[in-house]
Symmetry: C2
Subunit: 172 residues, 2 copies
């Protein structure tokens, strides 16, 4: 069986080394807390206003402020800052905590679309940091798609079929 990380690399097109190049620079020290708060605020403002209802609805059961806080606390912790996320919520356990959401290939791409726009519109993020983060986010998004498929293990065949978690159709 292909590992989660192998699937993430294949589907994202980002290899492991590039994905975790965030660890070769301390992005928290470079960018500071405010920038991370701005980034997540910009991101979720786009997400909660998304004109694509199928994507927006994924987040409908969470409060926007909570989504923002969960995200920037995780980013800060993972990118060299204080462990804000674990102090409040424990282990990130990324796949398990995304279990309630349908993390399909299509949803990953839409998430990344908004994150790319958020990175562009957040002041004071230099090009090098932006590239490291984009690679990390892209790999992680598809790591979560790989994790989403675990939900269908030991389930009837209808699970996978019904999850719409297939590679996007080539006929567009």
């Amino acid at each position: 069986m292909q590992s989660l990380q192998a699937k993430a690399s294949e589907w994202s097109g980002v290899n492991q080394d590039d994905a975790f190049a965030i660890d070769d620079a301390n992005l928290f020290q470079k960018l500071g807390l405010r920038t991370f708060i701005s980034l997540s605020t910009n991101f979720y403002t786009r997400v909660y206003d998304d004109e694509e209802e199928w994507f927006r609805s994924i987040f409908a059961r969470s409060k926007k402020e909570d989504a923002i806080q969960n995200q920037y606390e995780f980013f800060v912790q993972r990118m060299g800052g204080p462990p804000l996320y674990s102090q409040r919520k424990g282990h990130p356990a990324l796949i398990a905590r995304h279990r309630p959401f349908p993390v399909t290939h299509r949803a990953a791409e839409r998430w990344l679309h908004h994150m790319q726009q958020a990175l562009e519109s957040t002041p004071d993020i230099d090009a090098d940091s932006k590239l490291r983060m984009l690679n990390f986010f892209r790999h992680t998004a598809f790591f979560l798609v790989a994790g989403d498929e675990l939900k269908c293990q030991n389930q009837p065949p209808s699970c996978k079929h019904g999850s719409s978690n297939q590679l996007p159709s080539k006929t567009s």
Copy 2:
């Protein structure tokens, strides 16, 4: 629904602050790589020789050397050292990666029994570090028990029944 971390605290008896007091001291700087390698080697030597077959068999499909490396690389990364685990395998995703194993209350207690012994028999671990690690391990073990129960969501009732993932019987 009670969160993963709330279940972990309740079942382990270790609150969130004590569990993540590993972050108030850099244990990697204090103890060094060799101590972490020794700890995991001591731990898995006990586990793979466990006289209790039900527990030993949980690990039967993994090579001992791989188990040791996965564990100490994660510990090093999580306790203030270089991100060895992520460089090689990506996100820890603790719950998802424990999915193949039956992480029951009983298995958590057996794991902790061996880890306590391993901590005692590994030289150069001071009392303060030992306490921080034990609290972290105890909370984390029951976080994974809570995660294990997610596997039974949307499954027929026989899943939970069959998983034996119940609180230990009081009649001993």
